[in-house]
């Protein structure tokens, strides 16, 4: 029987996780198979070629492109310092002397007698690659990196900004429907992954950046505040390189939405323990969701889930409603009627029946729920 794939977010107390850590271009692998690595270890490293700066020698010396070799003081491969003279003319009257200086420190990359340009390249930049999670190297990818494996709590958010970071988890609110306010952010939250409730506003995020918090995890955020923080409107959901001073992870969506009770309790059970988080989000072409990884077993958990989730829904599954009305509400699947049903917008769609915690029953299009994989 065919099963339509249903999107879902993982909120798993303990599972086996593998992270492939690879450089964008070939480099040197610094860890070996079987090695235990902390999250902050450099497991591989490479050099990014320096930036290139062209200088038009012909224009500057008022000569033709073909004539420039006669005026060069540096040749291809020579090192140069910023301000050093790389070419000059030798006029009869010294006052008319023109010199061309290098705009950067680096090496001469190329010279063209067609365009009259010299290309100067800055020194390469070292690019280190961290392990990101505490675990064991289970595979080495020669010249590129490693795969690190760990067992631990794995929680996916729906959207984030900012890249990888780590730190101990710090529960800053008592309940998942409490707002995270600036007053909740304390000095001892420096370097921490602060967990809030239904919302963090602009003032809270600014306070957290000031206090040196590494990451905030909350149920919701207003898009207007996000725009203020970033200085621009996010056009497409491809994030992870923003440098605002911390990583932000939203678990439910945009607006004021209490964090799912299950997610909140799971994070609370790992309070004080070191976590690796990433805000990187990519909605298409290789979906990535922001994540929180806490290595090790939570208290009272004896077993680690090893198999992949089903990928489709069945009665009894916990689901989250992800579109108006009832956005953010969590319920349980009661039934999956196969026939198309007309909804208020007059679209004929496949639906499911969901029961909420208070017993209310709702009929929701199947496209408007996501499975909570536990």
């Amino acid at each position: 029987m065919a099963h339509a794939y249903t999107p879902g977010l993982k909120v798993i107390p303990c599972t086996v996780l593998r992270k492939r850590r690879v450089l964008p271009i070939p480099g040197k692998v610094l860890a070996s198979e079987g090695q235990e690595v902390p999250a902050t270890d450099v497991v591989a490293q490479t050099e990014l070629p320096g930036k290139v700066f062209p200088v038009n020698i012909a224009n500057r010396l008022s000569v033709t492109a073909g004539e420039i070799p006669a005026f060069l003081l540096k040749k291809v491969g020579d090192p140069v310092k910023k301000g050093e003279i790389v070419a000059e003319n030798r006029p009869f009257i010294k006052w008319f002397k023109t010199s061309v200086e290098s705009p950067v420190t680096g090496t001469v990359d190329s010279v063209s007698d067609v365009t009259g340009q010299m290309l100067l390249r800055e020194p390469p930049k070292v690019l280190p690659l961290l392990s990101y999670i505490k675990g064991k190297v289970v595979e080495v990818h020669p010249n590129f990196g490693v795969t690190v494996e760990t067992e631990g709590t794995f929680i996916q958010g729906i959207f984030g900004i900012g890249g990888e970071t780590n730190g101990p988890i710090a529960m800053a609110v008592e309940t998942p429907d409490e707002e995270l306010t600036p007053e909740h952010i304390k000095d001892e939250h420096r370097g921490r992954i602060v967990i809030g409730g239904k919302h963090a506003g602009l003032a809270t995020i600014k306070r957290a950046i000031e206090a040196g918090v590494h990451a905030i995890v909350v149920g919701g955020i207003h898009d207007r505040d996000l725009r203020q923080i970033l200085g621009y409107d996010i056009g497409v959901a491809v994030t992870g390189t923003e440098k605002i001073g911390l990583t932000l992870i939203v678990t439910e969506g945009f607006g004021m939405i209490p964090m799912a009770d299950y997610t909140f309790k799971l994070l609370a059970s790992r309070n004080g323990e070191n976590a690796s988080v990433s805000g990187a989000t990519q909605i298409r072409a290789g979906v990535m969701r922001p994540e929180i990884i806490v290595p090790g077993y939570p208290k009272d958990v004896k077993e680690c889930k090893r198999e992949e989730g089903r990928g489709w829904i069945e009665p009894g599954d916990p689901v989250r409603i992800i579109r108006e009305p009832h956005f953010g509400t969590i319920g349980t699947v009661l039934s999956l009627p196969p026939e198309l049903t007309k909804c208020a917008s007059e679209s004929h769609v496949r639906v499911l029946e969901v029961q909420l915690a208070d017993g209310t029953k709702l009929t929701v299009p199947r496209a408007n729920i996501e499975v909570l994989e536990k």
Partner: protein, 597 residues
């Protein structure tokens, strides 16, 4: 595939999310689409083999049709009774489609020509570099390094002219050493289609580092573009290099009976065939989740643009950023807080597969769609222009006219047909909604016919037309196009309530109807007959295609919506006053029966 015409055809389109298969059978003398199947596209992990999704979609067609098409993973050819097919063809936009970077010497001349060439070949143009594009040289080099195109198109200089600019671009390209998107270890294909005098230098600079292909100059003289040789090379490289690297495509390429086309190229081909077969000026649009493709054929000149930043889910936030919140809110017949709208759109962006459940949510999506269609059309009009930099012979009156080279080819009054496709247009709960979204976005003038592509079959038919134009056009007319009807929109402005048009519609085989259109009015009449004739007498100052105040007779088509007489004026502006705007919107939406009461 032998010379005889195929009788049974299976065609697939591998989209970013779903792979769609259709079965086409010759019934008597006419080809008809009989069954269709769909399955998730399988280029991403854990499958990483596009043929799995193809086979799943074809399996669904097998189950529905009772025809055995597959023998394991092999497509059975030729057809024999209820087994097999005569040919299999496919298109693809999976994995983000074909992504290119183009470079030209002068932005508005060879830069633009290179852009048109790449777009016409079905590519998404990631950036257009030019010597005079306003960026510092080191910024250009850095930009080349950051982007990871599938291939590059380098042009510049007319034949025999100066070589400096294009050689400089080649040097920047070499210094940047760009890596292709797919396959870290293979060389980036670079097509050189510039000044033939610079070929030796280009080969010396780029020959080692890139997979360089040299072809005819795409702008050999300023007065003429020569895009086809470079377009063919793009297509060849797309198959040889890009597709070979994409998961499962080498297998797929062995299965097909004609070269795989990028989806947008196939849609463009079908648009062209339709326009030429009927001698129409046509506008076709495909509005998807991430991009909006616009195709036009005006005075036999084909143009395509991709607004890679405008779409209904992945790019919905871009639409908001580009259009601005006031332009979105203006289409809503109810009040909505700006913060609420922002959050709703972002929630759609991060959960793109959700659908509108309530009428209010549907109206919000339709408002966004109007703006996305409008903005994509503006971008299209800007690129579908006469050649720039061309000396024109001018008479004294031309000089007073102040026209210059580079005028848009798109003239709304001459537009005969608009075809919409993409989820929001093809699957709206009421067909009137699709037609109104396009009317509001494009503001057609005069007499314009509308249709939607019922299930996004145009890609399949475009690639099929390579083998059988008759098969493609038969299915296009009978099964693909859902005719919506005709819109009559007099161009001009007047006071509210003024008579602006006397009209009569004579449906073929039906009773004539007539009436008067007043300014500010939107009239909607059922008109289901395939053909009809319109007799139009505009008031003084109003133009329906024969000049201001001149009567006109025009052929038209009926459809599922019928005849729409749009008396809101051209150019059309919504009332600025809030309560008047909402009242007018409600009046028009009611006239069109757009939404349930």
């Amino acid at each position: 595939m032998e010379n005889k015409e195929p009788r049974i055809i299976i065609a697939t389109d591998c989209g970013s999310t779903t792979t769609k298969a259709i079965l086409i059978e010759k019934k008597g003398d006419t080809y008809r689409q009989t069954f269709r199947g769909e399955a998730p596209t399988t280029v991403e992990a854990p499958f990483e083999d596009v043929t799995k999704g193809v086979l799943n979609a074809i399996t669904e067609v097998e189950e529905l049709s009772g025809r055995k098409i597959l023998d394991g993973e092999r497509i059975i050819t030729p057809a024999d009774g209820n087994t097999g097919v005569d040919v299999y063809v496919s298109t693809s936009s999976a994995g983000g489609g074909l992504q290119m970077m183009v470079a030209g010497a002068v932005k508005a001349m060879t830069g633009e020509s290179a852009q048109r060439c790449a777009l016409g070949a079905g590519a998404i143009v990631m950036d257009v570099l030019a010597s005079n594009d306003g960026r510092a040289d080191h910024e250009k080099i850095e930009r080349i390094r950051q982007l990871r195109p599938d291939m590059m198109l380098l042009s510049g200089g007319t034949d025999g002219g100066t070589v400096t600019h294009v050689v400089e671009l080649a040097q920047f390209l070499k210094a940047a050493d760009p890596k292709p998107r797919l396959g870290a270890s293979y060389k980036l294909p670079v097509i050189y289609a510039g000044n033939n005098k610079a070929r030796p230098q280009i080969e010396e600079i780029l020959g080692d580092r890139t997979a360089l292909i040299v072809t005819e100059n795409l702008r050999p003289v300023l007065e003429r573009e020569n895009l086809m040789p470079a377009r063919h090379k793009i297509h060849d490289i797309f198959l040889e290099h890009v597709m070979q690297q994409a998961p499962g495509y080498p297998k797929l390429m062995k299965m097909v009976g004609a070269p795989i086309m990028p989806t947008p190229a196939a849609v463009g081909t079908m648009t062209e065939k339709f326009a030429k077969a009927n001698n129409f000026n046509v506008l076709a649009v495909d509005i998807g989740g991430a991009t909006t493709d616009v195709f036009s054929v005006f005075t036999e000149v084909f143009n395509r643009t991709v607004s890679a930043n405008l779409g209904m889910s992945y790019s919905i936030s871009n639409v908001m950023a580009e259009a601005g919140l006031p332009n979105l809110l203006r289409w809503l017949p109810f009040d909505l807080d700006e913060q609420d709208l922002r959050n709703r759109l972002k929630n759609k962006m991060i959960r793109p597969t959700t659908i509108p459940q309530t009428v209010e949510e549907l109206q919000v999506e339709h408002a966004v769609s109007r703006e996305a269609l409008r903005l994509a059309f503006e971008q299209h009009k800007a690129l579908a222009v006469g050649l720039k930099g061309v000396q024109q012979e001018r008479s004294i009156s031309d000089a007073f006219d102040q026209t210059s080279s580079g005028q848009s080819l798109i003239k709304l009054m001459d537009l005969d047909y608009i075809i919409g496709s993409g989820g929001i247009l093809a699957h709206s709960p009421r067909r009137t909604q699709s037609m109104m979204m396009m009317i509001d976005a494009y503001q057609p003038e005069g007499v314009t016919m509308f249709a939607v592509d019922s299930i996004f079959m145009m890609p399949h038919l475009g690639v099929l037309s390579q083998i059988s134009e008759k098969a493609a056009l038969d299915v296009f007319y009978h099964d693909c196009l859902v005719r919506l009807g005709t819109c009559v929109a007099p161009k001009g402005l007047a006071k509210e309530g003024a008579n602006i048009l006397d009209w009569e519609l004579a449906p073929e085989g039906g009773k004539p109807v007539s009436g008067t259109l007043r300014f500010g009015e939107l009239l909607h009449l059922p008109f289901a007959e395939a053909r009809g004739k319109l007799m139009l007498k505009p008031a003084k100052g109003f133009d329906v295609g024969a000049g201001p105040g001149n009567a006109r007779e025009a052929k038209c088509e009926g459809g599922q919506v019928g005849l729409v007489l749009d008396g809101r004026g051209r150019p059309f502006e919504l009332p600025k006053a809030h309560s008047k705007r909402i009242a007018e919107l409600n009046k028009w939406y009611k006239a069109m029966e757009l939404y349930p009461a």
